[in-house]
C-alpha cells in the first residue's frame, strides 16, 4: 500500500548538519530499521517522514504523494514515541480511541476497533485505567494499540523499547515482529540497539553523523560490513580491528602476522575479524600475545589481548582456562578476514 521514498533529503540547523543527502526507497510492507549511535540523524530522519521536522532540502514521497508540505495529520501514518506520549488525562480506552475521534471515523466503529486493537496487544484488563496507573510495559502496549487502531499507510517507531527492562524488551520485540507479520504495514523502526535491528529488520540502514553508512539485510551487514564504522557497530562483541601493513597477501603488525590474504592489496590497511572466527593454535600461529583478561560468559570464554595497540577479543570454549599474562596463540581463517582502507575506513573488495 505504501512505498516510502526519500530523495536527497537533508536537514540542517544553522551550521549543524543533522541528516545529509539521504536517499532511500522503502518497499511496501517492509520492516526497515534505522540503526546508529545517538545523534546520528536516525530519529531526525524518522521525524521528517512523520512531518514533525521540516525538511531543509529534498523530497519525501509516501505512496504517490509528495508530502514535504503536508502536516503530520495529513500523511496518514502512525507513530510510537520513545516515551510513548500517552495522554495522561484520558483512560487507556480513550487514549486508543483518540486517533479515531480526531479523524472523524464514524462513532459506530470506535468500540469495535478499540477492542480489536487492545486485544492484539493484550490490554483488555486495563482499559479503564489511566496511564499513570500502568507499568512501563503496559504503557508501551497502549502506545502500540493507539498506533494500530486505525489502519495507516505506515508505522513509525522511535526507540519504542528503550524504556523497558531487558526481559520485557525481548518479549515486546517478539510482539512487534508478530504484529508486523499480522498487519503487513510498512514499518520504520529507529533504534541504537544492534540486536533489535538484527532480529526485527527486513533491511537495516546503518547511519552515522547524518550519513547512511550501509543499507542491507541483517546478514549482509553482519557478513560484509561496508566500512570500519559498521564493522565496529554490529555484533557483540564488535569486530576486532587491527591496524597493520599488507604485502603479497601477508598482513603484519605488532604480535600479528596473517598470511593467505588477497595479493591485490598492498600498503597500510585495517584487518577485521570476529571473535568467533578465531581458533586456538599450538605453534606458528597468526597471533601470539600475552592475555590481558579472561571473562567467563557461561556458554563460552572470552579472552582478550593487546595486538598492534588494540584490545582484541576472541571467543574460546567454555572449558578453556588460562591466567592473565599467559601467552596465547590464535589462528584466523583468511576467508573470515575483512580488509579496510586505513585512511577512509572503507571495505576493500577482494575476490572471494
Amino acid at each position: 500500500m505504501a512505498q516510502i521514498r526519500l530523495k536527497n533529503v537533508s536537514k540542517r540547523w544553522n551550521n549543524f548538519i543533522g541528516v545529509d543527502n539521504f536517499n532511500l526507497d522503502i518497499a511496501d510492507q517492509e520492516f526497515l530499521v534505522l540503526l546508529g549511535p545517538s545523534g546520528c540523524g536516525k530519529t531526525t530522519t524518522m521525524r521528517m517522514i512523520a512531518g514533525l521536522e521540516d525538511i531543509t532540502e529534498g523530497e519525501i514521497w509516501i505512496g504517490d504523494r509528495l508530502v514535504n508540505k503536508l502536516e503530520p495529520k495529513d500523511r496518514d501514518i502512525s507513530m510510537v514515541f520513545q516515551s510513548y506520549g500517552l495522554y495522561p488525562n484520558m483512560t487507556v480506552y480513550e487514549n486508543i480511541r483518540f486517533p479515531l475521534k480526531v479523524r472523524k471515523v464514524p462513532a459506530g466503529q470506535h468500540h469495535e476497533r478499540v477492542m480489536a486493537a487492545s486485544k492484539m496487544v493484550e490490554l483488555d484488563d486495563f482499559l479503564q485505567r489511566r496511564p499513570a496507573a500502568l507499568s512501563g510495559g503496559q504503557r508501551q502496549r497502549v502506545a502500540l494499540a493507539r498506533a494500530i487502531v486505525r489502519e495507516p499507510n505506515a508505522f513509525l517507531m522511535d526507540e519504542p523499547l528503550s524504556n523497558l527492562d531487558a526481559k520485557l524488551r525481548v518479549s515486546t520485540r517478539a510482539q512487534i515482529k508478530n504484529l508486523h507479520h499480522t498487519l503487513k504495514r510498512t514499518t520504520i523502526y529507529v533504534t541504537h540497539d544492534q540486536i533489535e535491528a538484527m532480529t526485527l529488520a527486513d533491511r537495516v540502514v546503518v547511519m552515522s553523523k547524518g550519513l547512511i553508512q550501509q543499507v542491507g539485510t541483517p546478514m549482509e551487514i553482519y557478513d560484509r560490513p561496508a566500512n570500519t564504522f559498521v564493522a565496529s557497530f554490529i555484533g557483540s562483541p564488535a569486530m576486532n580491528l587491527v591496524h597493520g601493513e599488507i604485502h603479497n597477501g601477508v598482513f603484519t603488525g605488532d604480535h600479528i602476522r596473517v598470511d593467505g590474504l588477497s595479493t591485490q592489496v598492498n600498503g597500510p590497511v585495517t584487518l577485521g575479524f570476529r571473535a568467533e572466527d578465531a581458533v586456538l593454535a599450538d605453534s606458528n600461529a597468526h597471533i601470539e600475545a600475552p592475555i590481558y583478561s579472561v571473562e567467563l560468559l557461561g556458554e563460552a570464554t572470552m579472552i582478550s589481548m593487546r595486538v598492534a595497540g588494540e584490545l582484541v577479543s576472541i571467543k574460546v570454549g567454555k572449558d578453556y582456562r588460562a591466567e592473565i599474562g599467559d601467552v596465547v596463540r590464535v589462528n584466523i581463517a583468511p576467508s573470515a578476514c575483512h580488509l579496510f582502507d586505513r585512511s577512509t575506513g572503507q571495505r576493500i573488495a577482494t575476490a572471494g
Binding site: N14, N15, F16, D54
Partner: protein, 343 residues
C-alpha cells in the same frame, strides 16, 4: 513548528508587548528631546475710566492652548533636558570640578544635584540590599533546612509575607512602626536615651531604615530559592565530604555553596533588577527629603500639577540605560553561549 503557526500563537502576546512596552520606550525617547512650551506673553493695555491706561504683560492662554493642540509634546529641545541642572547637570559639574575645596566638597556638591542624589541612593540600595538580603536568605534557608518538617511549613508561611506584601503597604506598615510615636521609634528613643531621636530627621537614619526595609522584603525570595536549591544538593557528595573529613562549615563552603552558585547568580540578577526600580518605599516612608531614587524622580515629574514630560522622559532614558548596563553581563553571556551553541 512552522513559522506561520508560531506567529499565530504568539501574535497577541507580541502585539501587547510591542504596543505597551516597546512603543512607550520610543515615546519616552522622543519626549525626552522635547520640552514644554514657553509661555506666550502678550501686552495688554487696560484702561480705567479715571486712572489712565496701564500696559500689563499677561500669559496668552488662548494662544498657548492652540500651540499645545498643535504640538502636544512641546517644542524640540535636543539634548537640552539631558544636560540641564535637573539631569546630568553638565555645566554645574564643570563648575564644581573647576572650583572646589577638595574631594569632600566635590562629592557634597554633586550629591546636591537632584539626579546624582537619586542615582546615589538607587545604586546604594541596589548594591547594599541585594548582597545582605541574599546572605540573610541563605542563612535562613540553612536554618530552616535543619528543623523538623512540622515547623518548616509555618516558618515558610511567615517568611513569604514580607515578599508578597504590596511594596507601598509593606513600607507603610514599617513606617508607622518606626515613627516616633510608633512601637519601634518609641523604643529606639528609650534605647539610645535620646528623646528627640527621629528616623526621619537625619538622612543617615532615613537611608538605614529604607535599607532595612529593602532587606526585609528581599530576603524571603533568596530564602525560598536557596531553600529549594538545598534540597537538590547531592547527598552522595555531602557524605563523601564527611568521610573525607570535612567539618560542618567546610561542607557548606566546599559542597553547598558551589552547588548553589548558579542559583545565586539568578537571584542576584532578579533582585538587582527589582531593586534598581526602588520607588514605593520612598513614597511610603515619605522619605523624599533625604532619599530619592530614579523612579521616584520620574514619578515626581509626572505627578505634579504641571506634568513635566520632557524631564520625566530624560530621566526615564537615563534609567533605561542604567538597566541595560546592569543587564549587560547577562546579555553578553547569553549572546556568547548562543553563538557557541550554533557553532
Amino acid at each position: 513548528m512552522p513559522h506561520k503557526t508560531f506567529f499565530a500563537f504568539i501574535l497577541p502576546s507580541l502585539i501587547a508587548m510591542v504596543l505597551f512596552i516597546a512603543l512607550p520606550i520610543v515615546s519616552v525617547v522622543v519626549q525626552s528631546f522635547h520640552v514644554e512650551h514657553g509661555r506666550i506673553l502678550v501686552q495688554v493695555e487696560s484702561c480705567q475710566p479715571f486712572g489712565g491706561c496701564t500696559t500689563e504683560t499677561r500669559v496668552d492662554t488662548a494662544a498657548m492652548a492652540e500651540l499645545r493642540e498643535e504640538q502636544p509634546m512641546g517644542r524640540f529641545n535636543g539634548f537640552g533636558t539631558y544636560l540641564n541642572r535637573g539631569h546630568l547637570a553638565v555645566d554645574e559639574i564643570g563648575a564644581i570640578l573647576a572650583n572646589n575645596n577638595g574631594i569632600g566638597d566635590i562629592v557634597t556638591r554633586i550629591y546636591n544635584l537632584p539626579l546624582y542624589k537619586a542615582l546615589a541612593f538607587t545604586l546604594v540600595f541596589c548594591f547594599v540590599v541585594t548582597p545582605i538580603a541574599m546572605a540573610l536568605g541563605f542563612v535562613i534557608a540553612l536554618a530552616v533546612n535543619t528543623v523538623p518538617k512540622m515547623v518548616k511549613g509555618p516558618v515558610i508561611f511567615f517568611s513569604l509575607l514580607p515578599m508578597i506584601i504590596t511594596p507601598l503597604i509593606g513600607s507603610l506598615i514599617l513606617y508607622w512602626m518606626i515613627q516616633p510615636n510608633g512601637i519601634i521609634g518609641a523604643n529606639l528613643r528609650v534605647l539610645f536615651d535620646d528623646p528627640t531621636l527621629s528616623l526621619r530627621q537625619s538622612p543617615l537614619l532615613t537611608w538605614l531604615s529604607l535599607l532595612f526595609y529593602g532587606v526585609w522584603t528581599n530576603a524571603p525570595f533568596s530564602f525560598v530559592v536557596f531553600y529549594a536549591g538545598l534540597q537538590t544538593v547531592p547527598a552522595d557528595t555531602l557524605e563523601s565530604a564527611m568521610i573525607d573529613g570535612a567539618s560542618r562549615w567546610e561542607r557548606i563552603r566546599y559542597v553547598v555553596i558551589p552547588h548553589l552558585a548558579p542559583l545565586a547568580t539568578f537571584v542576584a540578577l532578579v533582585q538587582l533588577m527589582d531593586n534598581f526600580r526602588v520607588f514605593e518605599p520612598i513614597v511610603g516612608f515619605s522619605a523624599e527629603a533625604n532619599a530619592t531614587s530614579l523612579s521616584w524622580l520620574i514619578f515626581n515629574d509626572l505627578s505634579g500639577d504641571a506634568q513635566l514630560f520632557g524631564s520625566a522622559g530624560a530621566t526615564s532614558v537615563i534609567t533605561i540605560i542604567g538597566v541595560i548596563i546592569l543587564l549587560s553581563p547577562v546579555l553578553v553571556r547569553t549572546w556568547r553561549e548562543f553563538n557557541h551553541k550554533v557553532v
